[in-house]
Amino acid sequence: MMTSEDPMTNEPRHLRRMTNIWVIASVVVDVLFWFLVGPHMAPGRLTSTAGADQTDINILMVIALPVLLAVWVFLGYSIRVWSSKKNGPESVGGPAAAGHKGVITAWIVTTTVIVLGLAIFGTIALIADHGSGGGEGPNPIWAPAGATAAETAALTKGDSWSPSSGKVLVVQVIAQQWKFTYRYPQFGGFETTQLMLPADTSIAFNVTSLDVIHSFWAYQLGVKADANPQQNNVAFTDTKGPGDFTVRCSELCGLWHGAMYDFGKVVSASDFESWATSTESANATNTSYLAPFAWTYVPDANGAAGGYYIDANVTPYSKSELYGAKQ
């Protein structure tokens, strides 16, 4: 029969007591967290990447909470049971304070398993979710099916997208001090300050910058990709139900960095198509003035004035000012 005291020392079985307290507390806290808090954790489930982020965060919390509780239980138990008392023995030092081989081994093994497990878990999550909404550079190695073909076709005039096409929607994100603009190459390449996306669709964001380094952070989409001048940084996500999201620049980029944000919407595929076709029509005149769609654009390094677009068919006022434009 098990007793609560060690027969050799007549001391209570402290380790067993602490373990029991810790196991019960961990189970209760983990279950409460998973069912009550987890579904409300950031960044929500508006897209596949956001949902995966939320799941990952919840799993990490379920692992982390028992570790936190272990520390707290040990600390609380120690204070309660082994705190120094008047006229009592010395509370620390002496042979009793020497390292315990079993405890040390258990600590090293446990922490190693946790860290390696998280590394493997994180790597699998990154690959399985096509980069987890992070920018993969110009040649993504974890592209979803159809993305490469859609990206290639986007550079071809006449390529289109419709809800029934099943194609990946290509969206170019152009950062500039201090605003994001968006081009839709499958809708004639129009550019707009509004970011609209169709629900239940794979999206390929192609992120670049016209000046300094920015970062495109669509928080509720679970997408975050640096916007570097003359670089195309591709990030993927699959939208789910309709909803609103916020876009912020997350790279300190100058005077109005704090105001460099806007709001986007995920709408039904048919509503998106209506919006895109009407915007394409409304912006047709200005679209005809835009440079041909390209993944990156070479900026004017000489200061004032533009000449930004490399292929713009213009008669420059000054060659020195129009570095990058056709001369």
Binding site: N286, G303, G306, V314
Partner: protein, 229 residues
């Protein structure tokens, strides 16, 4: 150190930390507005359209940065031109804006800003002619924009002729000098502070044109301070 000394040190550091927090919170709640505020809320009866008259000048011609490009605005009370880019306007009110553009233009970095956005009718008038988009690769090009990103407003300010010889170099500029007259209207919306800026990187001599006057409040950017009347 004695116990008393330690306690004193901790107390002093604590008070310093609290002071810093209070200063930061106060600064966040009441952001500074260098250059003062030009008040347009009392320039007309409540509910009536507000008229803002502004200039864009290639070089201000005085002050600490005489060569910098800048906006100027006409004070509605004193009718004097002032170097101020924080403008207080009433909420949910029609704002009629006139900009006298005295600077030259060129093709712009992103032709997206050649499109008139967020104004009533999605258009503006350029010397009396209504337009909704201006091709910066033609004509005189675009010198600046007046844009309030959080209101979705952007208006291209077409440049004066590159062949003009007597371009204004000291603000405020006389209408006798070469200029373009741009007019548009918008609705001010809800109360709040809305940054406005130029989207043409017009900081001549600065890398990518976005330094200097583009990165200093009171030159090519400021605030629309929208208040409930």
């Amino acid at each position: 150190m004695s116990m008393r000394g330690r306690l004193t040190t901790v107390l002093v550091l604590f008070l310093v930390a609290v002071g810093l927090v209070v200063v930061c919170v106060a600064a966040f709640i009441r952001p500074g507005t260098p250059g003062g505020v030009t008040d347009f809320t009392k320039s007309q009866p409540a509910g009536q359209p507000v008229h803002i008259l502004a200039q864009t000048v290639g070089s201000i011609g005085y002050g600490p940065h005489p060569t910098w490009v800048t906006y100027m605005v006409m004070n509605p009370t004193t009718h004097q031109w002032v170097h101020d880019t924080t403008w207080q306007i009433p909420a949910h009110t029609k704002i009629d804006m006139t900009i006298e553009q005295f600077d030259s233009g060129s093709p712009i970095r992103n032709q997206e800003w050649g499109q008139v956005q967020g104004t009533i009718g999605h258009s503006m008038t350029l010397n009396g002619k209504t337009i909704s988009s201006y091709n910066s690769y033609t004509g005189n090009g675009i010198g600046h924009t007046f844009a309030v990103p959080l209101m979705g407003i952007s208006v291209p300010l077409v440049g004066v002729s590159p062949s003009a010889s007597n371009v204004c170099g000291v603000a405020p500029c006389s209408l006798k000098l070469p200029h373009e007259l741009i007019k548009f209207s918008f609705i001010s919306g809800s109360s709040g502070e809305y940054p406005w800026q130029c989207f043409v990187p017009c900081g001549l001599g600065w890398l990518y044109g976005n330094g200097g006057p583009m990165s200093t409040q009171n030159y090519m950017g400021g605030f629309l301070d929208v208040v409930n009347s």
